[in-house]
């Protein structure tokens, strides 16, 4: 069971504003989905290595070489708000990254 309070907390972590009614709705929906997910607890996987890469690939590198940057017009052309060459946002307060 995922409570409305938990739903609000998750929505905040994911930075999505939700209304009270939506929280109610999500609480029901997520609860039923997680009920299905609980099925996995039937399995004892204590001896199983978690999967990392499906084909077991490892050590993929590139050499330390520089390639040209994106043209500044291309960097900024999709931006909702700029100031000079900066991206602009409303002022950041201390708690904003919480």
């Amino acid at each position: 069971m995922i409570s409305k309070e938990e739903v609000f907390k998750i929505a905040h972590l994911a930075r999505m504003a939700i209304t009270d009614a939506q929280a109610e709705h999500f609480s029901k929906e997520l609860s039923s989905i997680f009920e299905h997910i609980q099925k996995l607890n039937e399995l004892d996987v204590s001896d199983v290595e978690p999967m990392t890469h499906v084909h077991g690939v490892f050590n993929v590198f590139r050499e330390d070489q520089v390639e040209p940057s994106l043209e500044i017009q291309e960097v900024l052309k999709n931006a909702p708000d700029v100031n000079g060459q900066f991206f602009r946002v409303p002022i950041i307060k201390d708690h904003d990254s919480e």
Binding site: L13, N59, F87, R88
Partner: protein, 479 residues
């Protein structure tokens, strides 16, 4: 009751690779805002990271230099939080599986040596920069720095005083600079330091509640910030309150710290292994290749200077302040074979001139070879110490070799006995009154004859030889 502080440092070292950790975008300083970005740096849809091999090599190098164990299996993890300088909404870092663990470094401080534990070293990407403009109520975002490789170096809480913490930081900086993997410039932010600080009554073994100190952006401020924070915590406890676990910012203007935010709920970073980046398996062969490519470390260099070259601890400390000095010393020594003289010329003359003229060592015109040659010219009596200083000044100003200066200015010291005897004889002959007085018992006049001889030769005659010959000639006249 007396209290002691318990301090652990987290150092972020920006690596000197040409390109970023996960994309070929450049890491250079001094470009226009957002001009060193590409789709990967900007966190554009569809972009994927590809790991820069050099970052792994540098991490292993620092791990070996700090006596760490290098983890065989490594993964990158995503650390999630929303912030405008973090383009993807997560930072690619290492979490449960850092590349280096369980190391230590020797820190010299007040004539004592302490081993400070290194908990872990991990690789991660840097964030961009936000500039706040309260006037307009906006913040501006520059992502040039986003994706520059960092090593995060976490120490054990082994440090007890601000001065010790500062010594640790300087030692770490020295190691990074010797390895040439980070330039260690705190003012420019290429080396950053956060501190975990707590206090406890002396004798207590449990740790007190700690605060995390951020924004210590200069070497100058490390001790200041820690001193303030330690005093604050002690005052809190003495007043009967408890220290709150929180992040505090150091304000260099006021020399104080203040709480950054109240942590009702601690951040939930939702770490998980980055599925875009396959696992790293660090093979022995890679570790050995890195080990073979490693330069001498500061401690090794110091020991060598003292034990092999016979230098004083003081000279050894001065020379091992930078790898450049050590390299310079060794190259000059190769030419002149006099360690003591090399150390003296380097630390007094050369450093003195550089200081006076405010020139960086890197821009110095006197090559190690030339300094070695100059010392050799003294050793072989080609130059007197006095002449050498004149030559050195010319070398420092023009970058000319000592041989060339000696040649051009005819500064060569005369040691030929026949030539000297001629001059000595003529000086004696030209001063019959003084000769008479000398022969009459006025020994002080010996110095007069030396002075006249030197004057006549323009100061270019070897004083030792002049002395000998003069003595001989005057003796003859005693008859």
């Amino acid at each position: 009751m007396d209290y002691e502080a318990v301090i652990g440092l987290e150092v972020h070292a920006q690596l000197t690779t040409c390109s970023k950790i996960f994309t070929p975008s450049s890491t250079e300083f001094g470009h226009g805002v957002n001009e060193l970005t590409d789709p990967v740096t900007l966190g554009m849809p569809g972009c994927l990271p590809v790991l820069n091999k050099k970052v792994v090599e540098y991490a292993i190098m620092l791990g070996l230099a700090t006596d760490c164990q290098i983890r065989k299996r490594n993964r990158f993890a995503r650390k999630h939080y929303f912030y405008p300088d973090l383009p993807k909404g997560y930072q690619i870092s290492q979490y449960e599986e850092p590349i280096c663990e369980h190391g230590n470094i020797k820190v010299r401080f007040d004539d004592t040596v302490r081993s400070i534990g290194i908990t872990r070293i991990h690789m991660e990407e840097d964030a961009g920069k936000n500039i706040h403009d309260p006037r307009s109520g906006t913040s501006l975002v520059d992502l040039n720095r986003a994706g520059v490789p960092l090593l995060e170096i976490v120490s054990e809480p082994d440090l007890r005083t601000p001065a010790e913490a500062s010594a640790y930081l300087k030692t770490m900086r020295k190691i990074l600079r010797f390895l040439e993997i980070c330039d260690g410039n705190m003012e420019e932010g290429s080396m950053r330091c956060d501190a975990n600080v707590s206090v406890r009554p002396v004798g207590e073994t449990k740790f007190g509640t700690r605060t995390e100190l951020k924004n210590i952006n200069s070497f100058k401020f490390v001790e200041k910030a820690l001193e303030y924070e330690i005093a604050r915590q002690i005052a809190v406890i003495k007043a009967g309150d408890v220290v709150i676990q929180e992040t505090r910012l150091f304000d260099s203007e006021t020399g104080t710290t203040h709480a950054m935010r109240s942590k009702e709920e601690s951040a939930d970073y939702r770490y998980f292994p980055d599925p875009d980046l396959p696992e790293l398996k660090i093979q022995k062969s890679l570790i050995e290749a890195v080990r073979d490519s490693m330069p001498v470390l500061p401690e090794e260099a110091r020991t060598k200077l003292i034990e092999v070259y016979g230098l004083s601890e003081y000279d050894a400390d001065v020379i091992t302040a930078e790898r450049l000095f050590v390299d310079y010393f060794e190259e000059a020594f190769q030419i002149c074979s006099n360690a003591k003289a090399t150390a003296n010329w380097l630390t007094s003359e050369l450093f003195g001139y550089l200081n006076k003229e405010a020139i960086r060592f890197e821009d110095c015109k006197v090559s190690a070879r030339d300094l070695g040659t100059l010392i050799k010219l003294i050793e072989t009596d080609v130059l007197s110490g006095k002449m050498a200083k004149v030559v050195f000044e010319e070398m420092f100003n023009t970058g000319k070799s000592p041989e060339q200066i000696v040649e051009e200015q005819g500064l060569k010291q005369i040691t030929d006995p026949e030539e000297i005897r001629k001059t000595v004889t003529s000086v004696i002959d030209e001063n019959p009154t003084q000769l008479e007085q000398y022969l009459g018992g006025n020994d002080k006049l010996f110095g007069f004859f030396v002075g006249q001889t030197m004057k006549k030769s323009g100061g270019s005659m070897n004083p030792k030889v002049v002395n000998e010959i003069l003595k001989d000639e005057l003796e003859k006249r005693k008859g």
